[in-house]
């Protein structure tokens, strides 16, 4: 069945990179009501992710923002089935991937089927470039392993592909560096190797899990620039997981803010930055120092989320719509739906802008469409030109 294997499709694109095979109006990845929990010995299971929904379109960057432990990485790892099971468990939900026009639920694939997607269709870059490469194999071995697995090529062709991939990510003298070991590279270079490895098979979706956190600021900028360029050239979709709002502002098309395993706010980057609706998002933004402002102290997130008035600013607040916030007791008029996460609901409060709210009486029978935005800054004539 060579016609349907991902590798053949990839080789096809490899030969003509400009030809777009992707239907840009169909989401590449649609995460629907994902819930993942972990076993905790004698204690109750730990619910890492609960009812997460998001979409990623081709040529689009979705930034997932939130503090450590809020479930960002678990969401990304779940779509590649990289969450160790057990102790992990998919409680419910699905992650639909658009594979040559067919929608595939990644969560229900067998391990063998999943291996066909990993690396070739969906690739992932991790936070720790220092430890993410196997210390006992050369860079060449590790890149070639991916290429030989997914592409039906001979060794010398594979070496050519690897050299090209390393050249693309800006590693000087790639051919001779193929036989170097990871410890002979600096951190930034190792992350470039990781990216080269991820992109060597031309994936259509890239999951970048805090790709620049462990790097110097200058290297960070270079790596992000590189990712943006590669994305534009290839038309990939990208999930950019980060907790750096500067990175979000620079790179994202759509922003998804998460807290305690749930989505609290979802919208285009301009919408969310201009009109943050959830108090937590507002707290996040308020705690960023701004160039033109002179303050003695920054506002902390707690100063905002501890203020009950902040929770009454949501559109529809007068009807009793309240932002969901786990530190608060639920409002008195809560009408939870039966089933898990029934007290919570992701409502489209204004056009293309979703906020996680309590399912209070006001929205008890409400059903707004799940977050779904095909927005790209590069296609938006009104957007200030940020991307070169």
């Amino acid at each position: 069945m060579p016609a349907t294997t991902p590798s053949s499709a990839v080789t096809a694109t490899r030969t003509s990179p400009s030809a777009s095979k992707l239907d840009e109006s169909v989401p590449l990845l649609r995460v629907a009501d994902l819930a993942v929990s972990f076993d905790n010995g004698k204690g109750p299971r730990i619910q890492a992710v609960d009812g997460v929904r998001m979409t990623i379109y081709p040529r689009q960057t979705l930034a997932v923002v939130g503090e450590s432990g809020c479930g960002k990485s678990v969401t990304a790892m779940s779509t590649m089935q990289l969450v160790p099971r057990p102790p992990g468990r998919f409680d419910r939900g699905a992650a639909f991937f658009n594979h040559n026009g067919k929608s595939v639920n990644l969560l229900t694939l067998s391990e063998r089927e999943m291996q066909q997607f990993r690396g070739s269709e969906i690739a992932m870059i991790f936070q720790e470039p220092m430890t993410s490469l196997n210390p006992v194999y050369t860079i060449g071995d590790q890149i070639l392993e991916a290429i030989l697995l997914h592409q039906n090529v001979k060794l010398d062709e594979a070496i050519e592909i690897a050299v090209r991939a390393m050249d693309d990510v800006g590693i000087p003298d790639p051919r001779s560096r193929l036989s170097d070991y990871p410890h002979q590279f600096s951190g930034g270079m190792r992350q470039r190797v990781m990216i080269a490895m991820a992109l060597a098979c031309d994936p259509v979706l890239l999951l970048a899990d805090e790709p620049t956190t462990a790097l110097d600021v200058t290297i960070q900028a270079q790596i992000l620039e590189l990712l943006r360029k590669l994305q534009n050239d290839r038309g990939m979709g990208m999930m950019l997981i980060t907790h750096d709002l500067g990175v979000v502002a620079e790179n994202a098309d759509v922003v998804c803010v998460m807290y305690a395993g749930r989505v609290v706010e979802y919208g285009t980057v301009f919408e969310v930055f201009k009109h943050p609706l959830h108090p937590y998002t507002r707290g996040l933004f308020a705690s960023i120092p701004k160039m033109h402002e002179h303050r003695r102290r920054l506002v902390t997130i707690n100063q905002i989320v501890d203020n009950l008035d902040e929770f009454k600013k949501l559109p529809g607040a007068s009807d009793g719509v309240r932002p969901w916030w786990p530190w608060h007791d639920p409002p008195k008029d809560i009408r939870p739906k039966p089933g898990p996460a029934g007290d919570y609901y992701l409502q489209e409060v204004s056009k293309d802008h979703w906020v996680g709210v309590w399912r209070t009486a006001a929205v008890s029978d409400h059903e707004s469409p799940p977050p779904d935005l095909a927005y790209r800054i590069s296609d938006d004539p009104e957007a200030p030109s940020k991307k070169k």
Partner: protein, 509 residues
């Protein structure tokens, strides 16, 4: 890499020196001291005719046992070391080794009688350097015999003088300068002004005169001997680097007095047994422990993990002597199962066997090879079972640790299948601690084989060492420890090289 190896080899020297020094000190501090075996085999214990003190003095003089322990140790190291200092030894065609004679000790308490020690007479007339070999040899042997005879006289005279001097000192109130066995503590006695008016003085003085006379005769004979040695009656041994200062030679492991053979012959017989046991045991340990460690790690918590874990800990805890006794008692003893031979590594008439098994007139014949294997079964089983636990546990722990590593996640994200992840990524990285384990397992196994040899009466290094302990045979103990230390260090060196090959991060520069 080459320089690294060289450096490791140089590290071997302090290790071996430290080890043998420790053993030397242990033996020196034991009852009987360094010369226990010599004294025993020469029958000094049951001395007749001559007094025991005289007998002991002669042995001490002959073997240098009266020098401080550290000096004796230095002498031993000088003998064993392939790099030697001083004048080269000479070896007769028959293999007899001649050393430059040791310098003579000064006679005791000569300060009491003369102002300066007598000078030796001029050496006797000797054949020149260019004389016939046989003539030179005869002259050397003559000088050597004369020297030996003179030395015996001197030792006798010295012993008698010491006893007399000791008696005098005790009588004149210098108890603390005399040992309990009547010999004089020289350092103290030298400072004492003897009581020349005492009745015993005449006797002491007369004996001192004999002692000094024999001393002069001895050193005169020694001068002749030295001169004769310098004519090189026999071919020189080894390779000279700087004449008279530095030369190389094969190590001389000495002579075993309890077995009346050179130690090197004994070791050449015994070492193959020990090596064979260990070489047979090691692959078995690794071939069983490592795969089961991998299986336990990949099937963590399953019955494989639990069973192999508990089984190996139980095996590990079986005392090796118990296993050996049970194996001999129940498996080998004819009264019970009698399936295996009780002792040794070959049948008595194994030398007549064919190499391979055959079907002869008397039915099936095992042949030499199979016979050896059959004899090896029980001893090797007793060596290996204890090694499984520690190695398998280490493999499992290393695998589990590497499973949590980030690069495993990377490999999974690349789409590598489970089997490749286990073998190509996790196991390959776990190799490093497994190789490191060799450093722990090998010495333990080597030492274990010493005990096993004793239990199964295999005439290897271990049996030899334990016999030597009972007989206090210093030479065998030291040489065996030396050889075992070297075998061990070489094995560890191999492990080092393997490690360097397995881990690209290590560079030896």
């Amino acid at each position: 890499m080459g320089t690294y190896l060289l450096r490791r080899l140089f590290l071997l020297i302090p290790t071996v020196i430290g080890m043998t020094f420790l053993i030397f000190m242990l033996i020196a501090s034991s009852k009987g001291g360094i010369g226990a075996a010599i004294a025993f085999s020469s029958g000094a214990g049951q001395a007749k005719g001559e007094s025991a003190a005289l007998q002991r003095a002669r042995l001490e003089d002959r073997y240098g046992l009266d020098s401080p322990v550290v000096v004796q140790y230095g002498r031993w190291i000088g003998r064993v070391s392939p790099v030697k200092f001083g004048t080269r030894d000479q070896v007769s065609p028959a293999g007899e080794r001649f050393r430059e004679p040791r310098s003579m000790k000064d006679p005791p308490l000569w300060e009491w009688f003369v102002d300066a020690l007598p000078e030796p007479d001029a050496p006797k007339e000797l054949p020149g350097k260019d004389a016939e070999e046989q003539v030179k040899r005869d002259a050397y042997r003559q000088a050597s015999n004369d020297f030996a005879a003179a030395r015996v006289d001197h030792v006798r005279a010295r012993t008698e003088f010491e006893l007399a001097a000791g008696t005098l000192l005790r009588e004149t109130g210098h108890r603390d300068a005399v040992e309990s066995d009547g010999t004089v503590i020289l350092g103290l006695a030298k400072r004492i002004e003897p009581d020349k008016s005492h009745a015993l003085w005449a006797d002491v003085e007369q004996k001192a005169k004999v002692m000094l006379d024999t001393y002069k005769a001895t050193i005169s004979n020694k001068a002749t001997l030295d001169a004769s040695f310098a004519t090189k009656p026999f071919p020189e041994s080894g390779w000279g680097l700087i004449p008279g200062v530095l030369w190389l030679d094969a190590p001389d492991l000495g002579y075993s007095y309890s077995r009346s053979t050179p130690v090197i012959n004994e070791i050449a017989k015994a070492l193959p047994y020990t090596l064979m046991l260990n070489l047979a045991a090691f692959p078995i340990i690794y071939l069983i422990a490592v795969p089961s460690g991998i299986l336990s790690a990949t099937h963590r918590g399953s019955w494989i993990d639990v069973t192999s874990g508990s089984l190996f800990v139980a095996l590990w805890s079986i005392p090796v002597v118990w296993a050996g006794v049970l194996a001999i008692g129940f498996l080998a003893n004819d009264k019970y199962l009698g399936m295996f031979p009780v002792s040794g590594l070959h049948d008595n008439d194994a030398a007549n066997y064919l190499m391979l098994p055959s079907w002869g007139e008397n039915g099936f014949e095992r042949g030499y090879l199979l016979d050896t294997l059959w004899h090896l079964c029980l001893p090797v089983a007793c060596i290996v079972y204890g090694g499984f636990a520690i190695l398998s546990k280490q493999t499992r722990a290393a695998m589990l640790e590497n499973f949590t590593m980030d690069y495993v996640r990377t490999a999974k994200a690349k789409g590598v299948d489970g089997g490749s992840i286990v073998m190509r990524h996790v196991f390959r990285n776990s190799l490093l601690p497994i190789i490191t384990m060799f450093v722990t397992v090998f010495p333990a196994t080597l030492a274990g084989s010493v005990v096993i040899e004793r239990i199964f009466s295999i005439p290897g290094m271990g049996s030899m060492i334990i016999d030597a302990i009972f007989l206090r045979d210093t030479e065998i103990l030291l040489s065996n420890s030396l050889i075992i230390g070297i075998v061990n260090v070489v094995a560890l060196l191999l492990a080092d090289i393997l490690y360097a090959m397995a881990d690209p991060r290590i560079t030896y520069k």
